[in-house]
């Protein structure tokens, strides 16, 4: 693995701001961000774009991503100036990370501060019920990230008094220290075509934030 070029004192951190709700502008002063490959729509100043194989997580990360089906093609953007990112007119949401961990599907991750570590983690049944596979991407450290959603995401806080239940198709990401459990409402009625329509749900408990989008991906559970 390559050591970061700038020394540990990363004084200049790229600043993320939204321009409208579908374009992300990142102001950089010699620092770098990791972004979804091909998501740059414009830039101003001096920028260098470099494809990072396997998500820029080194050989081990690359192999893990290949195996887990969480491949993401990522590029590193570095330079001075402003770079604008957008992807298929998806709504973009900014996430602030202060040492906590963000769990997001790789396809919903648009851009992260280069100082954030990305990785993969096992999601268990939730991933299966979403049709996204059993693994998800994690982003960890201090900095900003931008995630995408179909329609503006609603950010819901989970605390110990207020657990939250989410439809797997509307879930996009979560951060903080939350436990998730899988709820199934499948009963004999489901098989008689009289199901509640919300046969699979994910329950979040603990302390953190959950991002949901106002749209449901087609899931196995969607029609049950």
């Amino acid at each position: 693995m390559r050591a970061p070029l700038c020394p540990a004192t990363v004084a200049s951190v790229a600043t993320f701001r939204l321009q409208g709700s579908k374009v992300l502008a990142v102001d950089m002063t010699g620092d770098a961000v990791k972004a979804k490959n091909g998501s740059m729509v414009a830039y101003d100043g001096q920028m260098a774009f470099k494809k990072l194989s396997g998500g820029g997580e080194g050989i081990r990360g690359m192999v893990t991503r290949r195996i887990t089906g969480e491949q993401m093609t990522v590029m590193e953007v570095k330079g001075h100036g402003t770079c604008w990112f957008a992807d298929r007119a998806s709504e973009i949401n900014l996430v602030n990370l202060q040492g906590d961990k963000l769990y997001v599907e790789s396809s919903n991750l648009l851009c992260t501060d280069a100082g954030l570590r990305t990785g993969t983690s096992f999601t268990g049944l939730r991933g299966a019920s979403q049709g996204n596979g059993l693994f998800t991407t994690t982003v960890e450290g201090h900095g900003q990230a931008a995630i995408m959603s179909d329609g503006p995401a609603v950010v819901l806080r989970v605390t110990s008094q207020y657990p939250l239940t989410v439809d797997p198709g509307a879930y996009i990401a979560h951060q903080g220290n939350v436990r998730q459990s899988f709820q199934s409402g499948v009963t004999f009625r489901t098989f008689m075509g009289e199901g509640g329509g919300e046969a699979f749900q994910i329950r979040f408990e603990g302390d953190g934030l959950v991002y949901v989008q106002p749209s449901e991906r087609n899931t196995i559970a969607g029609d049950v």
């Binding site: 202060q98 950010v155 198709g169 509307a170 075509g193 329509g197 934030l209």
Partner: protein, 268 residues
């Protein structure tokens, strides 16, 4: 908890979520206090508290269904949410809005209706593909783009129509002048020059409100269920001779410039 810094998006919790109001243009929050709501399957995206979702066919809900649900043939598309908590509804990132009816009636395209309070009763409209809500209460509907409210008399594009309230007379309107004029006739016959696509409208007169969406892209229809096979029932395909062979539903492909059966009626 303030660790998640300020510049990010608005963070909601059960205290800050609105009660029976929009969270943003695309998400609606319903507060349940032991009460019930009807909602279309799969439109719940998240909830706080303890809420049960049961199919309409659930035995315990029979009474509720008897009193406020009169559209039995597509009952399985609807579920009843009941319990305590706040529930978020959304539909494919379409705009959602809530509407209050006070001892009124409103007819809406079936695919647009998301949820309603049981104090309203749901019925199939005589107009195929539409549902009618009667009574007092709140309902939530989706639309492709924001909804515009218009007062009759008005003629509207069929694709832009979301629904109407209190108007007694929705009917078809054809632009005779255009279709029978020399140029119009030529165009209609030959297809040369095409048609404007606006020769056919829905017309509303009388007192009431017409709801329009701001695009002509329809939302997918939800089945409203079949109507009884009886003569005189529109869409019922009863014994009546003309039934079932008119209208674009007949399955005959349309060509540009072809005005359908009207051409025949006008001798074109």
């Amino acid at each position: 908890m303030s660790a998640y810094g300020a510049p990010g998006p608005v963070i909601h919790d059960p205290m800050t979520l609105p009660s029976d109001d929009n969270v943003n243009a695309y998400t609606f929050c319903v507060e349940l206090k032991g009460s019930q709501w009807f909602l279309q399957k799969g439109k719940m995206i998240a909830y706080y508290g303890s809420i049960d979702f049961n199919g309409i066919g659930h035995g315990r809900l029979d009474r509720l269904v008897r009193t406020s649900f009169h559209s039995p043939l597509h009952a399985s598309d609807w579920v009843v949410a009941e319990g305590q908590g706040k529930m978020l509804l959304a539909d494919r990132a379409f705009d959602v809005n809530s509407y209050d009816l006070e001892d009124g009636n409103l007819t809406i395209r079936s695919g647009n209706l998301l949820a309603f309070q049981p104090s309203l009763s749901l019925k199939q409209s005589i107009v195929p593909g539409f549902l009618t809500l009667i009574g007092t209460g709140k309902f939530v509907a989706a639309s492709n783009g924001p909804v515009v409210f218009m007062e009759p008399p008005i003629r509207v594009d069929p694709q832009a129509l979301v629904g109407w309230a209190d108007c007694p007379s929705p009917c078809h309107h054809y632009d005779h002048e255009y279709m029978t004029g020399v140029m119009g006739g030529l165009r209609a016959m030959t297809g040369i020059g095409g048609t404007s696509g606006e020769e056919h409208q829905f017309e509303f007169v009388g007192a009431g409100t017409v709801l329009l969406q701001s695009t002509e892209t329809l939302m997918a229809d939800q089945a409203t269920g079949a109507v009884p096979h009886e003569a005189g029932v529109p869409g019922g395909h009863g014994v009546s001779g003309h039934q079932g062979q008119h209208g674009p539903q007949a399955g005959v492909p349309r060509f540009p410039g072809q005005l359908g059966d009207l051409q025949r009626r006008f001798g074109l």
